[in-house]
């Protein structure tokens, strides 16, 4: 079709919403991050420059939230990635009922995180299934969500359960782009299955594995529902995440400027991860799954 200068009117409705509810709020958030602003006392609004950022960086809660995220990523990523890879490998080698197994394993990824959190809250409850099993084995009950040293690991365990299927599907899709002939040839030459996996399959799906690393890390920075439903950020801030902290500041304490500064720190962190990823792991990785 011939090139035209003006966009067709079909773009207008969406463009309007994107501008008003996407771009504008982003700029608004940036402006807010330099203000001290409580919507209940609009008369007291004032420009504070980088004060909000400085205060966030001096606040132990901010660093605790960051530390929680790092622990979360370091703890879940290797486990999730390994399990997802294994599940994808299993799925790939199943010639019968592959569709059924794929569906069963992927389904949790479509669920509401609230529902997942509620189910696990019931499993972790004092009188719940896990404690029931411990009791019947003659072991003492465990305070999964009330013990500051166990609350975060309990959430991490749930996260692994909730994400393995999702990542397995991504990895499986990458495996399937490997030409059958190549695998067939390798096998006819008598190369062992493990060696085929290591020399051919693994390098082939490497970009997607890197994408999963990136995705998982970025998502970990945005965790909110889990601490909201399971622990309210506690006990002793052991499950305080950056977004939960932001939510608390904005909607309990009405520190809109401070919360916006936290939001931009989150944005910068996610941007940094993307940048490091590009530098270290090659630019193909982010587009690999697309």
């Amino acid at each position: 079709m011939r090139a035209r200068r003006a966009p067709s009117p079909g773009l207008a409705p969406w463009l309007f919403f994107f501008a008003v509810l996407g771009i504008f709020p982003l700029l608004y958030a940036l402006a807010l991050s330099f203000l001290s602003y409580n919507p209940l006392r609009p008369d007291l609004v004032r420009w504070v420059g980088f004060d909000n950022y400085a205060r966030a960086l001096e606040n132990p809660s901010f660093w605790r939230a960051l530390r929680t995220t790092v622990i979360f990523v370091v703890g879940t990523l290797p486990v999730t990635l390994t399990l997802a890879y294994l599940v994808a490998a299993l799925l790939a080698s199943a010639r019968r009922a592959q569709g059924f197994f794929r569906a069963a394993i992927f389904f949790p990824a479509t669920l509401s995180m609230v529902v997942i959190s509620l189910v696990f809250k019931s499993l972790y409850a004092e009188e719940g299934l896990l404690n029931g099993w411990l009791a019947s084995a003659g072991l003492p009950r465990v305070h999964w969500l009330q013990d500051p040293s166990l609350a975060l690991p309990s959430i991490m365990l749930m996260d692994v359960w909730a994400s393995v299927g999702y990542y397995a599907i991504l990895i499986l899709a990458a495996r399937k782009t490997l030409p059958d002939e190549q695998l067939e040839a390798a096998r006819l030459e008598g190369i062992s299955r493990l060696r085929v996996e290591r020399k051919i399959v693994l390098p082939h799906v490497r970009p997607v594995l890197l994408f999963v690393v990136l995705l998982n890390t970025i998502r970990s920075f945005q965790i909110f529902i889990e601490p909201f439903v399971l622990t309210r950020g506690g006990p002793l801030e052991s499950t305080l995440t950056l977004v939960y902290y932001l939510y608390e500041r904005a909607f309990y304490h009405f520190q809109m400027g401070y919360a916006s500064a936290l939001a931009f720190l989150l944005l910068v962190l996610v941007g940094l991860i993307l940048l490091v990823q590009r530098r270290l792991l090659g630019r193909g990785s982010a587009e690999a799954a697309a």
Partner: protein, 273 residues
């Protein structure tokens, strides 16, 4: 594919993983179909206790949960068709017309895909408050209309669709509007299904924005209502809570049963879960 037979160990492993994936959901269903607020802990309880629809009856006999469900249905029912239509119109415009600023626009929309949504939480709240829309359906629906996934997906979709038919219609003197409604849209079913079902999942499961943009109990959506219900710490009624969770899950299961392929395609193309 291979000359070797699949070893039975593969199926044993897969069956185990599948069981692990589905077990918590089966447990949820079992608790919701029990009596009272307690949890069935021993296997004897899972299978032995009588089934009952008690919790579901309670949910819908005038309790707040019925209202949450209606809210979720209204919001999703309005937001998703709008999303689908706007994605098709905007995606088509982007794919067929090389206007000035198109590149900038595509880059912006793509950047928004990666942008943590929480960044716009506070400004959206203030914006809605300023417009007097807090605690209305508009506040629950509007933010979903700014999501760029559908538009980018449809732009890509139309780029791979041949424009010949549209050009023929144009030479026949059809208007752009007629071409869009009578040729483009009817040919876009598979693409729109991907946008629609992924939009459905995101809208139906949305939490943070609905939590913040509503203040009264009567405007809560199902996920928000459930989460806040669970926080009233004194004696949680697990049966009621997991019955509500099952109600929140049923449409997702249905969508999954019919549109699994489209959901996976959305995942692979980078829809935000």
């Amino acid at each position: 594919m291979s000359v070797r037979r699949t070893s039975p160990a593969v199926y044993v492993g897969l069956a185990l993983v599948a069981l692990l994936s589905l077990a918590p959901l089966l447990y949820m269903a079992r608790v919701s179909l029990g009596k009272g607020g307690g949890l069935p802990v021993a296997p004897a309880d899972w299978f032995g206790q009588p089934l009952s629809l008690e919790h579901y009856r309670d949910l819908f006999s005038g309790g707040p949960m019925a209202r949450f469900t209606v809210n979720s249905i209204v919001v999703t029912g309005i937001a998703v068709p709008l999303q689908i239509l706007m994605s098709a119109a905007a995606g088509h415009a982007l794919a067929r017309v090389r206007f000035v600023g198109r590149g900038v626009f595509l880059a912006l929309a793509t950047a928004f895909l990666i942008l943590p949504r929480q960044v716009t939480l506070v400004p959206l709240y203030l914006l809605m408050a300023w417009m007097g829309l807090l605690d209305t359906y508009a506040a629950l629906i509007l933010p979903h209309l700014a999501d760029p996934f559908g538009v980018l997906f449809m732009a890509h979709y139309y780029q791979t669709m041949s424009p010949e038919l549209e050009e023929a219609a144009r030479t026949d003197g059809w208007s752009s509007r007629a071409i869009f409604w009578r040729i483009v849209l009817p040919l876009s079913g598979p693409g729109l299904a991907v946008v629609g079902v992924n939009g459905f999942l995101i809208t139906w499961n949305a939490f943070l924005h609905p939590l913040v943009l509503t203040t009264s109990e009567s405007m809560r959506t199902l996920p928000v209502g459930l989460a806040l219900f669970a926080q009233s710490e004194h004696s949680v009624n697990w049966g009621a809570l997991l019955a509500g969770s099952s109600v929140a899950t049923a449409p997702v299961l249905l969508a999954f049963a019919f549109f699994q392929r489209q959901i996976v395609e959305g995942v692979l193309k980078g829809s935000s879960r």
